[in-house]
Protein backbone atom coordinates (compact mmCIF):
# COMPACT_ATOMS: atom_id res chain seq x y z
CA UNK A 1 0.00 0.00 0.00
CA UNK A 2 1.15 3.52 -0.80
CA UNK A 3 1.82 5.90 2.09
CA UNK A 4 -1.41 6.62 3.96
CA UNK A 5 -1.73 10.33 4.55
CA UNK A 6 -3.95 11.03 7.54
CA UNK A 7 -2.47 14.42 8.40
CA UNK A 8 -4.67 16.33 5.98
CA UNK A 9 -5.02 19.08 8.54
CA UNK A 10 -1.44 20.01 7.71
CA UNK A 11 -1.76 19.60 3.97
CA UNK A 12 -3.49 17.38 1.42
CA UNK A 13 -2.35 15.48 -1.62
CA UNK A 14 -3.17 17.45 -4.78
CA UNK A 15 -5.81 15.74 -6.89
CA UNK A 16 -4.33 14.52 -10.23
CA UNK A 17 -6.91 16.67 -12.02
CA UNK A 18 -5.59 19.68 -10.09
CA UNK A 19 -2.07 18.95 -11.32
CA UNK A 20 -3.42 18.63 -14.85
CA UNK A 21 -5.13 22.02 -14.56
CA UNK A 22 -1.90 23.58 -13.30
CA UNK A 23 0.45 22.19 -15.94
CA UNK A 24 -0.33 24.62 -18.79
CA UNK A 25 0.55 27.51 -16.48
CA UNK A 26 3.91 25.95 -15.70
CA UNK A 27 4.67 25.31 -19.37
CA UNK A 28 3.21 27.40 -22.20
CA UNK A 29 0.91 29.77 -20.22
CA UNK A 30 3.49 31.14 -17.84
CA UNK A 31 2.68 34.81 -18.45
CA UNK A 32 1.49 37.31 -15.89
CA UNK A 33 -1.68 39.29 -16.63
CA UNK A 34 -1.31 42.38 -18.79
CA UNK A 35 -3.52 44.48 -21.01
CA UNK A 36 -4.25 43.94 -24.70
CA UNK A 37 -1.72 41.26 -25.62
CA UNK A 38 -3.16 37.77 -25.92
CA UNK A 39 -0.75 36.10 -23.48
CA UNK A 40 -1.66 38.54 -20.71
CA UNK A 41 -5.35 38.19 -21.46
CA UNK A 42 -5.18 34.43 -20.95
CA UNK A 43 -3.68 35.00 -17.54
CA UNK A 44 -6.41 37.50 -16.71
CA UNK A 45 -9.02 34.93 -17.66
CA UNK A 46 -7.47 32.39 -15.25
CA UNK A 47 -7.62 34.91 -12.41
CA UNK A 48 -11.18 35.89 -13.27
CA UNK A 49 -12.34 32.29 -13.31
CA UNK A 50 -10.60 31.59 -10.02
CA UNK A 51 -12.31 34.56 -8.36
CA UNK A 52 -15.67 33.49 -9.76
CA UNK A 53 -15.45 29.97 -8.43
CA UNK A 54 -14.24 31.14 -5.00
CA UNK A 55 -17.10 33.66 -4.83
CA UNK A 56 -19.66 31.05 -5.82
CA UNK A 57 -18.39 28.56 -3.21
CA UNK A 58 -18.92 31.12 -0.45
CA UNK A 59 -22.05 32.79 -1.86
CA UNK A 60 -20.05 36.01 -2.08
CA UNK A 61 -19.77 38.61 -4.80
CA UNK A 62 -16.76 38.38 -7.03
CA UNK A 63 -15.69 41.88 -6.00
CA UNK A 64 -15.44 40.69 -2.39
CA UNK A 65 -12.77 38.08 -3.20
CA UNK A 66 -9.03 38.62 -3.00
CA UNK A 67 -6.66 35.94 -4.23
CA UNK A 68 -3.59 35.34 -2.10
CA UNK A 69 -0.45 33.27 -2.04
CA UNK A 70 -1.81 31.07 0.76
CA UNK A 71 -3.85 30.90 3.95
CA UNK A 72 -1.32 32.65 6.17
CA UNK A 73 -0.98 35.47 3.62
CA UNK A 74 -4.76 35.81 3.58
CA UNK A 75 -4.85 35.87 7.39
CA UNK A 76 -2.14 38.50 7.65
CA UNK A 77 -3.66 40.70 4.97
CA UNK A 78 -7.12 40.39 6.53
CA UNK A 79 -6.18 40.85 10.17
CA UNK A 80 -3.43 43.45 9.85
CA UNK A 81 -5.20 45.27 7.07
CA UNK A 82 -8.46 45.57 9.01
CA UNK A 83 -6.82 46.64 12.26
CA UNK A 84 -4.61 49.22 10.54
CA UNK A 85 -7.55 50.68 8.67
CA UNK A 86 -9.71 50.86 11.80
CA UNK A 87 -7.20 51.57 14.56
CA UNK A 88 -8.56 55.11 14.93
CA UNK A 89 -11.85 53.61 16.18
CA UNK A 90 -10.38 51.63 19.04
CA UNK A 91 -7.51 49.52 20.29
CA UNK A 92 -9.19 46.40 21.58
CA UNK A 93 -9.33 43.05 19.78
CA UNK A 94 -10.70 39.70 20.86
CA UNK A 95 -9.74 36.15 19.98
CA UNK A 96 -9.55 32.90 21.93
CA UNK A 97 -6.79 30.86 23.52
CA UNK A 98 -7.52 28.01 21.09
CA UNK A 99 -7.33 29.90 17.82
CA UNK A 100 -5.10 28.97 14.90
CA UNK A 101 -1.49 30.24 15.29
CA UNK A 102 -2.00 32.83 12.52
CA UNK A 103 -4.62 34.56 14.66
CA UNK A 104 -2.67 34.20 17.91
CA UNK A 105 0.62 35.46 16.52
CA UNK A 106 -1.12 38.45 14.91
CA UNK A 107 -2.90 39.17 18.20
CA UNK A 108 0.45 39.00 20.02
CA UNK A 109 1.97 41.37 17.46
CA UNK A 110 -0.73 43.99 18.06
CA UNK A 111 -0.53 43.43 21.83
CA UNK A 112 3.19 44.26 21.64
CA UNK A 113 2.28 47.37 19.71
CA UNK A 114 -0.14 48.98 22.12
CA UNK A 115 -3.37 47.05 21.53
CA UNK A 116 -5.37 45.41 24.26
CA UNK A 117 -6.18 41.78 23.48
CA UNK A 118 -8.76 39.61 25.24
CA UNK A 119 -8.10 35.90 24.90
CA UNK A 120 -11.35 34.02 25.48
CA UNK A 121 -11.21 30.64 27.16
CA UNK A 122 -12.90 27.52 25.84
CA UNK A 123 -14.77 24.61 27.38
CA UNK A 124 -13.93 20.88 27.38
CA UNK A 125 -15.46 20.37 23.93
CA UNK A 126 -13.63 23.32 22.41
CA UNK A 127 -16.41 25.89 22.26
CA UNK A 128 -15.23 29.38 23.02
CA UNK A 129 -16.70 31.18 26.04
CA UNK A 130 -19.52 33.26 24.54
CA UNK A 131 -20.54 34.78 27.89
CA UNK A 132 -17.02 36.08 28.23
CA UNK A 133 -17.22 37.38 24.67
CA UNK A 134 -20.37 39.28 25.59
CA UNK A 135 -18.82 40.81 28.69
CA UNK A 136 -15.52 41.60 26.94
CA UNK A 137 -16.96 43.75 24.16
CA UNK A 138 -16.47 47.44 24.76
CA UNK A 139 -16.53 50.67 22.89
CA UNK A 140 -12.87 50.32 21.92
CA UNK A 141 -13.38 46.83 20.44
CA UNK A 142 -12.80 46.83 16.71
CA UNK A 143 -12.29 43.18 15.83
CA UNK A 144 -13.32 39.70 16.97
CA UNK A 145 -11.33 36.81 15.46
CA UNK A 146 -12.23 33.15 15.49
CA UNK A 147 -11.29 29.84 13.89
CA UNK A 148 -14.36 28.29 12.30
CA UNK A 149 -13.30 24.64 12.69
CA UNK A 150 -10.61 24.13 15.28
CA UNK A 151 -7.53 22.60 13.68
CA UNK A 152 -6.80 20.36 16.67
CA UNK A 153 -10.19 19.44 18.14
CA UNK A 154 -12.32 19.75 15.02
CA UNK A 155 -14.98 21.67 16.94
CA UNK A 156 -17.04 24.07 14.82
CA UNK A 157 -17.72 27.44 16.43
CA UNK A 158 -21.18 28.90 16.11
CA UNK A 159 -20.57 31.94 13.92
CA UNK A 160 -24.26 32.84 14.15
CA UNK A 161 -24.11 33.07 17.95
CA UNK A 162 -20.86 35.05 17.85
CA UNK A 163 -22.34 37.41 15.30
CA UNK A 164 -25.53 37.83 17.35
CA UNK A 165 -23.48 38.86 20.38
CA UNK A 166 -21.43 41.32 18.33
CA UNK A 167 -24.53 42.75 16.70
CA UNK A 168 -26.24 43.25 20.06
CA UNK A 169 -23.38 45.40 21.24
CA UNK A 170 -24.34 49.10 21.42
CA UNK A 171 -21.62 50.10 18.98
CA UNK A 172 -23.40 47.98 16.36
CA UNK A 173 -27.00 48.76 17.25
CA UNK A 174 -26.36 52.48 17.37
CA UNK A 175 -27.53 52.81 20.97
CA UNK A 176 -25.65 55.67 22.52
CA UNK A 177 -22.80 54.61 24.79
CA UNK A 178 -21.13 56.98 27.17
CA UNK A 179 -18.04 58.15 25.40
CA UNK A 180 -18.81 55.94 22.42
CA UNK A 181 -16.38 56.18 19.54
CA UNK A 182 -18.82 54.91 16.87
CA UNK A 183 -16.75 51.78 16.49
CA UNK A 184 -17.96 48.95 14.34
CA UNK A 185 -16.85 45.53 15.41
CA UNK A 186 -15.86 43.28 12.56
CA UNK A 187 -15.74 39.49 12.66
CA UNK A 188 -12.71 37.77 11.14
CA UNK A 189 -13.05 34.04 10.50
CA UNK A 190 -10.20 31.69 9.68
CA UNK A 191 -11.97 28.98 7.70
CA UNK A 192 -8.83 27.11 6.69
CA UNK A 193 -9.92 23.83 8.28
CA UNK A 194 -13.61 24.24 7.54
CA UNK A 195 -13.69 25.30 3.91
CA UNK A 196 -14.77 22.45 1.66
CA UNK A 197 -15.71 20.34 4.69
CA UNK A 198 -18.92 22.18 5.54
CA UNK A 199 -21.16 24.63 3.71
CA UNK A 200 -20.10 28.24 4.28
CA UNK A 201 -22.45 31.02 3.20
CA UNK A 202 -20.84 34.35 4.03
CA UNK A 203 -24.11 36.22 3.53
CA UNK A 204 -26.04 33.95 5.87
CA UNK A 205 -23.24 33.93 8.46
CA UNK A 206 -22.77 37.67 8.00
CA UNK A 207 -18.99 37.48 8.46
CA UNK A 208 -16.87 40.47 7.55
CA UNK A 209 -13.59 38.80 6.62
CA UNK A 210 -12.90 35.12 5.97
CA UNK A 211 -9.85 33.21 4.78
CA UNK A 212 -8.91 29.78 3.48
CA UNK A 213 -6.18 28.02 1.52
CA UNK A 214 -6.19 25.64 -1.42
CA UNK A 215 -3.82 23.00 -0.10
CA UNK A 216 -6.29 21.86 2.57
CA UNK A 217 -8.76 20.69 -0.08
CA UNK A 218 -6.50 18.65 -2.36
CA UNK A 219 -5.35 21.77 -4.13
CA UNK A 220 -1.79 23.07 -4.45
CA UNK A 221 0.31 24.83 -1.83
CA UNK A 222 0.81 28.55 -2.44
CA UNK A 223 -2.75 29.68 -3.13
CA UNK A 224 -5.51 30.98 -0.90
CA UNK A 225 -8.28 33.51 -0.78
CA UNK A 226 -9.69 36.24 1.40
CA UNK A 227 -13.32 37.29 1.48
CA UNK A 228 -13.82 40.92 2.50
CA UNK A 229 -17.43 42.06 2.82
CA UNK A 230 -18.34 45.11 0.77
CA UNK A 231 -17.73 48.28 2.74
CA UNK A 232 -15.16 46.70 5.08
CA UNK A 233 -12.02 48.77 5.09
CA UNK A 234 -8.71 46.97 4.69
CA UNK A 235 -5.44 48.88 4.67
CA UNK A 236 -2.62 47.92 2.34
CA UNK A 237 -0.14 45.84 4.32
CA UNK A 238 1.92 44.46 1.47
CA UNK A 239 3.23 47.16 -0.82
CA UNK A 240 4.54 46.62 -4.29
CA UNK A 241 3.55 46.13 -7.86
CA UNK A 242 -0.01 44.92 -8.39
CA UNK A 243 0.06 41.85 -10.57
CA UNK A 244 -2.86 39.71 -9.51
CA UNK A 245 -4.43 41.19 -6.40
CA UNK A 246 -4.28 44.70 -5.02
CA UNK A 247 -3.90 43.45 -1.41
CA UNK A 248 -1.45 40.60 -2.04
CA UNK A 249 0.85 42.50 -4.35
CA UNK A 250 3.55 41.00 -6.51
CA UNK A 251 3.25 37.68 -8.22
CA UNK A 252 1.06 34.84 -7.07
CA UNK A 253 1.59 31.57 -8.89
CA UNK A 254 -0.98 31.39 -11.67
CA UNK A 255 -0.49 27.64 -11.75
CA UNK A 256 -1.42 27.51 -8.06
CA UNK A 257 -4.50 29.67 -8.69
CA UNK A 258 -5.56 27.46 -11.61
CA UNK A 259 -5.03 24.47 -9.33
CA UNK A 260 -7.07 26.10 -6.58
CA UNK A 261 -9.93 26.76 -8.97
CA UNK A 262 -9.91 23.10 -10.03
CA UNK A 263 -9.70 21.89 -6.42
CA UNK A 264 -12.71 24.04 -5.50
CA UNK A 265 -14.65 22.76 -8.50
CA UNK A 266 -13.91 19.15 -7.50
CA UNK A 267 -14.68 19.75 -3.83
CA UNK A 268 -17.90 21.64 -4.40
CA UNK A 269 -19.36 19.66 -7.30
CA UNK A 270 -20.80 17.36 -4.64
CA UNK A 271 -19.95 19.02 -1.35
CA UNK A 272 -22.58 17.18 0.70
CA UNK A 273 -21.52 13.86 -0.84
CA UNK A 274 -17.89 14.50 0.12
CA UNK A 275 -18.90 15.57 3.63
CA UNK A 276 -21.01 12.43 4.10
CA UNK A 277 -18.15 10.28 2.80
CA UNK A 278 -15.55 11.81 5.13
CA UNK A 279 -18.03 11.59 8.03
CA UNK A 280 -18.50 7.87 7.33
CA UNK A 281 -14.72 7.31 7.36
CA UNK A 282 -14.42 9.34 10.57
CA UNK A 283 -17.01 7.06 12.23
CA UNK A 284 -15.45 3.93 10.77
CA UNK A 285 -12.03 4.86 12.14
CA UNK A 286 -13.31 5.56 15.64
CA UNK A 287 -15.50 2.46 15.73
CA UNK A 288 -12.69 0.26 14.44
CA UNK A 289 -10.27 1.57 17.07
CA UNK A 290 -12.78 1.28 19.91
CA UNK A 291 -13.77 -2.24 18.90
CA UNK A 292 -10.19 -3.34 19.53
CA UNK A 293 -8.99 -0.98 22.24
CA UNK A 294 -12.19 -0.21 24.12
CA UNK A 295 -13.55 3.27 24.75
CA UNK A 296 -11.05 6.03 24.03
CA UNK A 297 -11.20 9.70 24.94
CA UNK A 298 -12.45 11.68 21.94
CA UNK A 299 -11.10 15.22 22.07
CA UNK A 300 -13.47 17.90 20.80
CA UNK A 301 -17.18 18.01 20.10
CA UNK A 302 -18.83 15.00 18.49
CA UNK A 303 -21.63 14.88 15.94
CA UNK A 304 -22.71 17.69 13.65
CA UNK A 305 -20.63 20.28 15.46
CA UNK A 306 -17.42 18.46 14.64
CA UNK A 307 -15.82 18.93 11.26
CA UNK A 308 -16.21 15.76 9.20
CA UNK A 309 -12.53 15.03 8.54
CA UNK A 310 -11.04 15.22 12.04
CA UNK A 311 -10.67 12.49 14.64
CA UNK A 312 -8.62 13.37 17.71
CA UNK A 313 -8.35 10.77 20.46
CA UNK A 314 -6.21 10.25 23.56
CA UNK A 315 -4.79 6.86 24.45
CA UNK A 316 -4.12 6.18 28.09
CA UNK A 317 -0.52 5.56 29.17
CA UNK A 318 0.94 5.73 25.66
CA UNK A 319 2.96 8.69 24.44
CA UNK A 320 1.92 10.33 21.18
CA UNK A 321 5.27 10.89 19.49
CA UNK A 322 6.05 7.19 19.94
CA UNK A 323 2.72 6.28 18.31
CA UNK A 324 3.25 8.79 15.53
CA UNK A 325 6.77 7.56 14.76
CA UNK A 326 5.77 3.91 14.80
CA UNK A 327 2.85 4.63 12.46
CA UNK A 328 5.30 6.53 10.27
CA UNK A 329 7.41 3.36 10.07
CA UNK A 330 4.27 1.58 8.85
CA UNK A 331 3.76 4.27 6.20
CA UNK A 332 0.99 6.24 7.93
CA UNK A 333 1.11 10.00 8.54
CA UNK A 334 -0.68 11.32 11.63
CA UNK A 335 -0.19 14.15 14.14
CA UNK A 336 -0.03 14.34 17.93
CA UNK A 337 -0.38 16.93 20.68
CA UNK A 338 2.51 15.44 22.63
CA UNK A 339 5.20 17.77 23.93
CA UNK A 340 7.83 15.46 22.43
CA UNK A 341 6.69 16.26 18.91
CA UNK A 342 6.98 20.03 19.37
CA UNK A 343 10.10 22.16 19.06
CA UNK A 344 9.39 23.90 22.38
CA UNK A 345 8.73 20.56 24.15
CA UNK A 346 5.39 21.84 25.42
CA UNK A 347 2.11 19.91 25.18
CA UNK A 348 -0.36 21.24 22.63
CA UNK A 349 -1.78 24.58 23.80
CA UNK A 350 -5.31 23.77 22.65
CA UNK A 351 -5.39 20.44 24.48
CA UNK A 352 -4.24 22.15 27.66
CA UNK A 353 -6.56 25.16 27.28
CA UNK A 354 -9.56 22.85 27.00
CA UNK A 355 -8.82 21.06 30.25
CA UNK A 356 -6.85 18.00 29.18
CA UNK A 357 -4.14 16.92 31.58
CA UNK A 358 -0.56 16.37 30.49
CA UNK A 359 -0.94 12.65 29.91
CA UNK A 360 -4.09 13.13 27.82
CA UNK A 361 -2.30 15.72 25.73
CA UNK A 362 0.90 13.68 25.38
CA UNK A 363 -1.20 10.64 24.43
CA UNK A 364 -3.30 12.38 21.80
CA UNK A 365 -3.45 11.26 18.21
CA UNK A 366 -4.99 13.31 15.44
CA UNK A 367 -6.16 11.66 12.24
CA UNK A 368 -7.40 14.04 9.53
CA UNK A 369 -8.96 12.86 6.29
CA UNK A 370 -9.61 14.20 2.82
CA UNK A 371 -12.09 13.27 0.13
CA UNK A 372 -9.28 11.18 -1.44
CA UNK A 373 -8.82 9.04 1.69
CA UNK A 374 -10.01 5.50 0.99
CA UNK A 375 -11.84 2.98 3.15
CA UNK A 376 -8.96 0.55 2.66
CA UNK A 377 -6.56 3.15 4.08
CA UNK A 378 -8.78 3.57 7.13
CA UNK A 379 -8.97 -0.20 7.66
CA UNK A 380 -5.18 -0.53 7.34
CA UNK A 381 -4.72 2.33 9.81
CA UNK A 382 -7.03 0.67 12.35
CA UNK A 383 -5.00 -2.57 12.19
CA UNK A 384 -1.64 -0.80 12.47
CA UNK A 385 -2.78 1.65 15.13
CA UNK A 386 -4.05 -1.17 17.36
CA UNK A 387 -0.73 -2.97 16.84
CA UNK A 388 1.27 0.15 17.73
CA UNK A 389 -0.74 0.86 20.87
CA UNK A 390 -0.39 -2.77 21.94
CA UNK A 391 3.37 -2.69 21.41
CA UNK A 392 3.86 0.58 23.31
CA UNK A 393 1.54 -0.44 26.14
CA UNK A 394 3.70 -3.51 26.71
CA UNK A 395 6.74 -1.38 27.41
CA UNK A 396 5.16 1.53 29.23
CA UNK A 397 6.54 2.43 32.61
CA UNK A 398 3.34 4.06 33.89
Amino acid sequence: MERVHLDNCMTTKPDPLVIEAMMPFLTEKYFLPSNFVSTGSNSKKCIQECKQIVAKSLNADESEIHLTSGGTSANNIGIKGYIMANAHKGNHIICSQIDYPDILTNAAFFEENGFDVTYLGADWDGYIDLEKLKSSLRKETILVMTTLANHVLGTIQSIKKIKEIINCHPSKTGVEMTGSSNSNIALFVDAGHAYGRMPIDVKELDVDILSFSAHKINGPQGAGALFVKKGTKIAQTKHGIVRIDNLDTGGISLAALAGMAKAIELQFNDLQGHIDYMRSLQNRLLQGIEEKLGKVLVNGAWGENRICHNLNISIENVEGEGMMMMLDMFGINVATGSACSSQGLQPNYIMMATGRNFVQSHGSMKFTLSRLTTQAEIDYTIVKFVEVVGKLRKITSI
Binding site: L345, P347, S397, I398
Partner: protein, 206 residues
Protein backbone atom coordinates in the same frame (compact mmCIF):
# COMPACT_ATOMS: atom_id res chain seq x y z
CA UNK B 1 17.78 16.56 11.70
CA UNK B 2 15.83 13.32 11.47
CA UNK B 3 16.32 10.17 13.49
CA UNK B 4 19.29 7.98 12.50
CA UNK B 5 18.87 4.38 11.36
CA UNK B 6 20.22 3.25 14.72
CA UNK B 7 17.63 5.28 16.65
CA UNK B 8 14.85 3.81 14.53
CA UNK B 9 16.24 0.30 14.97
CA UNK B 10 16.36 0.60 18.78
CA UNK B 11 12.90 2.24 18.77
CA UNK B 12 11.26 -0.47 16.69
CA UNK B 13 13.23 -3.34 18.27
CA UNK B 14 14.13 -2.24 21.78
CA UNK B 15 16.66 -4.44 23.56
CA UNK B 16 16.26 -5.60 27.18
CA UNK B 17 12.64 -4.54 27.43
CA UNK B 18 10.60 -5.58 30.46
CA UNK B 19 10.87 -5.93 34.20
CA UNK B 20 13.17 -8.02 36.40
CA UNK B 21 10.87 -9.26 39.14
CA UNK B 22 13.66 -9.97 41.63
CA UNK B 23 15.80 -6.99 40.65
CA UNK B 24 18.48 -5.88 43.12
CA UNK B 25 17.63 -2.29 42.43
CA UNK B 26 15.30 -0.22 40.30
CA UNK B 27 15.16 3.50 39.59
CA UNK B 28 12.84 5.80 37.68
CA UNK B 29 13.59 9.17 36.13
CA UNK B 30 11.21 11.57 34.40
CA UNK B 31 7.47 11.83 34.83
CA UNK B 32 4.28 11.25 32.83
CA UNK B 33 3.56 14.98 33.09
CA UNK B 34 6.76 15.77 31.21
CA UNK B 35 5.90 13.15 28.64
CA UNK B 36 8.90 10.90 29.22
CA UNK B 37 9.85 8.42 31.89
CA UNK B 38 12.31 5.53 32.13
CA UNK B 39 12.55 2.79 34.77
CA UNK B 40 15.61 0.52 34.92
CA UNK B 41 15.72 -2.82 36.72
CA UNK B 42 19.21 -4.13 37.53
CA UNK B 43 20.51 -7.51 38.64
CA UNK B 44 23.96 -7.03 40.13
CA UNK B 45 26.67 -9.56 40.96
CA UNK B 46 27.52 -8.74 44.57
CA UNK B 47 31.08 -10.07 44.31
CA UNK B 48 32.22 -8.60 41.03
CA UNK B 49 29.90 -5.59 41.27
CA UNK B 50 28.94 -5.99 37.63
CA UNK B 51 25.56 -5.52 35.99
CA UNK B 52 24.53 -9.08 35.19
CA UNK B 53 21.14 -8.21 33.79
CA UNK B 54 19.32 -5.02 32.98
CA UNK B 55 15.81 -4.37 31.73
CA UNK B 56 13.78 -1.23 31.27
CA UNK B 57 10.29 0.12 30.76
CA UNK B 58 9.62 3.43 29.09
CA UNK B 59 6.83 5.93 28.64
CA UNK B 60 7.97 8.32 25.97
CA UNK B 61 8.86 9.15 22.44
CA UNK B 62 10.93 7.22 19.91
CA UNK B 63 14.24 8.65 21.14
CA UNK B 64 13.28 7.98 24.76
CA UNK B 65 12.85 4.29 23.95
CA UNK B 66 15.95 4.18 21.74
CA UNK B 67 18.26 5.87 24.27
CA UNK B 68 17.01 3.65 27.10
CA UNK B 69 17.51 0.60 24.89
CA UNK B 70 21.07 1.38 23.77
CA UNK B 71 22.08 2.40 27.29
CA UNK B 72 20.93 -0.97 28.59
CA UNK B 73 22.88 -2.72 25.86
CA UNK B 74 26.05 -0.73 26.52
CA UNK B 75 26.14 -1.24 30.29
CA UNK B 76 25.21 -4.91 30.44
CA UNK B 77 28.22 -6.77 31.86
CA UNK B 78 29.95 -3.55 32.94
CA UNK B 79 31.01 -2.79 36.52
CA UNK B 80 29.03 -0.28 38.57
CA UNK B 81 32.00 2.04 38.37
CA UNK B 82 32.05 1.85 34.57
CA UNK B 83 28.29 2.35 34.39
CA UNK B 84 28.58 5.44 36.61
CA UNK B 85 31.01 6.99 34.18
CA UNK B 86 28.70 6.76 31.15
CA UNK B 87 27.73 10.15 29.78
CA UNK B 88 24.79 11.23 27.66
CA UNK B 89 27.23 12.29 24.97
CA UNK B 90 28.42 8.68 24.62
CA UNK B 91 24.81 7.55 24.23
CA UNK B 92 24.18 10.15 21.54
CA UNK B 93 27.34 9.10 19.69
CA UNK B 94 26.39 5.42 19.93
CA UNK B 95 23.09 6.24 18.25
CA UNK B 96 24.84 8.15 15.44
CA UNK B 97 23.40 11.39 16.77
CA UNK B 98 20.08 12.73 18.00
CA UNK B 99 18.17 15.89 17.03
CA UNK B 100 19.07 18.64 19.53
CA UNK B 101 15.49 18.76 20.77
CA UNK B 102 15.82 15.08 21.72
CA UNK B 103 19.14 15.21 23.59
CA UNK B 104 17.29 15.35 26.91
CA UNK B 105 16.15 11.75 26.30
CA UNK B 106 19.74 10.53 26.46
CA UNK B 107 20.21 12.48 29.69
CA UNK B 108 17.11 10.86 31.13
CA UNK B 109 18.35 7.36 30.30
CA UNK B 110 21.81 7.99 31.79
CA UNK B 111 20.32 9.67 34.87
CA UNK B 112 17.99 6.71 35.48
CA UNK B 113 20.90 4.28 35.17
CA UNK B 114 23.11 6.32 37.50
CA UNK B 115 20.28 6.69 40.01
CA UNK B 116 19.91 2.92 40.12
CA UNK B 117 23.65 2.39 40.56
CA UNK B 118 23.89 5.06 43.26
CA UNK B 119 20.86 3.67 45.10
CA UNK B 120 22.40 0.20 45.11
CA UNK B 121 25.76 1.47 46.29
CA UNK B 122 24.21 3.44 49.15
CA UNK B 123 21.96 0.52 50.15
CA UNK B 124 24.97 -1.83 50.24
CA UNK B 125 27.15 0.64 52.10
CA UNK B 126 29.51 0.98 49.14
CA UNK B 127 29.21 4.75 49.24
CA UNK B 128 27.89 7.30 51.67
CA UNK B 129 24.81 9.35 50.97
CA UNK B 130 26.04 12.76 49.85
CA UNK B 131 25.00 15.88 51.75
CA UNK B 132 22.76 18.25 49.81
CA UNK B 133 24.55 21.45 48.91
CA UNK B 134 25.22 23.80 46.02
CA UNK B 135 27.48 21.19 44.40
CA UNK B 136 24.55 18.76 44.30
CA UNK B 137 22.45 21.42 42.60
CA UNK B 138 25.17 22.09 40.04
CA UNK B 139 25.35 18.36 39.26
CA UNK B 140 21.62 18.31 38.71
CA UNK B 141 21.89 21.35 36.43
CA UNK B 142 24.21 19.33 34.20
CA UNK B 143 21.21 17.11 33.46
CA UNK B 144 19.08 19.99 32.22
CA UNK B 145 19.34 20.26 28.46
CA UNK B 146 18.52 23.36 26.48
CA UNK B 147 16.77 21.68 23.57
CA UNK B 148 17.50 24.48 21.12
CA UNK B 149 21.26 24.38 21.71
CA UNK B 150 21.43 20.64 22.37
CA UNK B 151 23.70 20.96 25.41
CA UNK B 152 23.34 21.23 29.18
CA UNK B 153 22.66 24.59 30.79
CA UNK B 154 25.91 24.55 32.82
CA UNK B 155 28.05 24.11 29.70
CA UNK B 156 25.99 26.83 28.04
CA UNK B 157 26.72 29.23 30.96
CA UNK B 158 23.04 29.63 31.65
CA UNK B 159 23.38 29.07 35.42
CA UNK B 160 24.30 32.47 36.79
CA UNK B 161 24.26 31.60 40.50
CA UNK B 162 22.96 29.11 43.06
CA UNK B 163 22.06 30.09 46.62
CA UNK B 164 21.04 27.54 49.23
CA UNK B 165 20.30 28.40 52.84
CA UNK B 166 17.91 27.01 55.44
CA UNK B 167 16.05 24.91 52.87
CA UNK B 168 15.53 27.81 50.50
CA UNK B 169 17.12 27.21 47.12
CA UNK B 170 17.38 30.01 44.60
CA UNK B 171 18.71 29.47 41.09
CA UNK B 172 19.40 32.48 38.94
CA UNK B 173 19.49 31.77 35.23
CA UNK B 174 21.07 33.61 32.41
CA UNK B 175 18.44 32.93 29.74
CA UNK B 176 16.69 35.29 27.36
CA UNK B 177 13.10 36.31 28.09
CA UNK B 178 12.17 35.42 24.52
CA UNK B 179 13.90 32.02 24.50
CA UNK B 180 11.22 29.51 23.44
CA UNK B 181 12.87 26.82 25.57
CA UNK B 182 12.84 28.90 28.76
CA UNK B 183 9.63 27.36 30.14
CA UNK B 184 10.89 23.83 29.55
CA UNK B 185 14.24 24.59 31.20
CA UNK B 186 12.53 26.12 34.25
CA UNK B 187 10.02 23.28 34.61
CA UNK B 188 12.76 20.66 34.27
CA UNK B 189 14.81 22.36 36.97
CA UNK B 190 11.77 22.31 39.24
CA UNK B 191 11.09 18.67 38.44
CA UNK B 192 14.69 17.67 39.19
CA UNK B 193 15.06 19.57 42.44
CA UNK B 194 11.63 19.15 43.97
CA UNK B 195 12.57 15.50 44.63
CA UNK B 196 15.13 16.51 47.25
CA UNK B 197 13.48 16.68 50.64
CA UNK B 198 16.15 19.20 51.70
CA UNK B 199 14.57 21.75 49.33
CA UNK B 200 11.71 23.35 51.24
CA UNK B 201 11.35 26.28 48.88
CA UNK B 202 12.60 26.58 45.32
CA UNK B 203 12.92 29.79 43.34
CA UNK B 204 14.05 29.72 39.73
CA UNK B 205 14.69 33.20 38.36
CA UNK B 206 15.05 33.49 34.63
Amino acid sequence: MDYSEKVLDHFMNPRNIGKITNADVEATEGSPACGDQVTYYLKINEETLTIEDIKFLSYGCASNIATASITSELVKGKTLEEASNFTWKQIVESLDGLPSVKIHCSVLAVDALKSAVKKYQIEKGLRAAEPFNEKTVMQEMRSIIHSGAGDDIVTLNMVKSIEYQDGILTINLNISEKDVHKCTVVSEIKEHLSRFEEVKELNVRA
